[in-house]
């Protein structure tokens, strides 16, 4: 549970910072918001040491020997994070400017065919909210199992700008898994994140040369609700263009022997590692991730 102690789930920017971007987006368009970003990214690179250290800790691992002049890479990482936040705002505002190609469409259709739901597991890569909006196109209710950590005031600012988002199940509540199970049995799509341990049953696996603790409760849910699990990521390709890429599918009828959850988690983290090597500035777990 060490990971849980380190991660504070605190949003960057505060109420006024977020409000500033929302106003820019609303009245001056996305380019104005993008134009402000390099200054904000530079500020975070120079003055915010805790996120700097967390970013550098990840970048050292992903860059390997090419990790010269770390502040430059941290700046690129912060910039990429800012772009993703702005893109999230543009997408959920319903402007239609951002396009998302779904490479998981066939897998999803096949998994949903028998009327059962599906568990979608995403990492903190690219923009998850874009993936969630895309999932609404399958004619099923979409629910998100997670912990609400957004500051109440920041949430109000963002909600004032965005159209209604998906329904959330509070992972911190006693019966979160019970609600999730009921949703899956009804045929809903249940989304959760797989690369951040929040105190659930977990497995320790190798990831980017270190040991990472990852949640495994999705395996229990999938087994009991008899539904597939799809690991995927919503990656930014270029300006206004995202794609949802599949990482791994766990079928409901797969034989589940002892250590199944840990082995699968280890496999999917290898897939994630490959994805991150191609998109190294798109992983947004800004806390000290490894032991």
């Amino acid at each position: 549970m060490e990971q849980n102690k380190k991660w504070r789930g605190k949003s960057y920017g505060g109420k006024w910072g977020n409000l500033c971007f929302v106003i820019l987006l609303k009245y001056f368009g996305p380019y104005a918001a993008y134009a402000l970003l390099p200054f904000v990214a530079a500020y975070f690179t120079i003055f915010r040491r805790t996120p700097y250290r967390a970013s550098a800790s990840y970048l050292k691992r992903i860059l390997g020997k090419r990790r010269y002049f770390m502040p430059y890479h941290v700046f690129r990482h912060n910039l990429s994070f800012g772009i993703t936040l702005i893109d999230k705002g543009i997408y959920i505002s319903g402007s239609g400017k951002i396009k998302c190609e779904n490479l998981c469409e066939e897998i999803l259709k096949n998994s949903l065919e028998d009327g059962r739901g599906i568990i979608i597991l995403t990492p903190h890569v690219g923009c998850r909210e874009i993936a969630l909006e895309t999932l609404k196109g399958f004619g099923r209710d979409v629910k998100v199992l997670g912990i609400q950590t957004e500051d109440e005031q920041i949430k109000k600012v963002l909600d004032s700008f965005a159209r209604q988002n998906v329904e959330a199940i509070d992972a911190g509540s006693f019966g979160a898994l019970i609600d999730s199970y009921a949703a899956l049995k009804r045929g809903d799509i249940l989304a959760m994140q797989f690369d951040r341990n929040i105190g659930d049953p977990s497995a320790t696996v190798d990831f980017l040369g270190g040991k990472a603790v990852l949640p495994t409760n999705a395996f229990s849910l999938s087994e009991m609700a008899k539904c597939d699990m799809l690991y995927c990521a919503c990656v930014r390709e270029k300006l206004f263009k995202y794609k949802i890429v599949p990482l791994m599918l766990v079928k409901k009828d797969e034989m589940r022997q002892k250590d199944f959850a840990r082995q699968k988690t280890e496999s999917v983290m290898k897939c994630l590692e490959k994805l991150l090597r191609k998109n190294k500035y798109q992983w947004f777990n800004f806390y000290d991730y490894w032991d």
Partner: protein, 86 residues
């Protein structure tokens, strides 16, 4: 006199959760199932209990708002089963 349904439920809890070295006699009717002062079950165990009620008694518990109350002790589960058995 022992309540048969509560005893049955205790045995099914032990079996569903695969509780090693625990027998029905070790659990009283009012032993809290969750929390440090009881059996210390967790959220995945709660889900196992939901599935157990579905399989063994054809009873659905689909709302977490009532789940905490239902699964607080073996006696509370028995009471819920009695009320909802078809």
């Amino acid at each position: 006199m022992k309540d048969n349904l509560t005893e049955d439920i205790k045995n099914k809890i032990i079996s569903a959760l695969n509780l090693q070295g625990v027998s029905a006699a070790d659990i009283s009717d009012t032993t809290p199932l969750f929390g440090d002062d009881g059996l210390g079950l967790d959220s995945v165990d709660a889900l196992e209990l939901v599935v157990m009620l579905e399989k063994e008694y054809s009873i659905n518990v689909s709302e977490q708002s009532i789940a905490k109350e239902i699964f607080s002790t073996p006696a509370s589960i028995a009471e819920y089963v009695r009320k909802n058995s078809k």
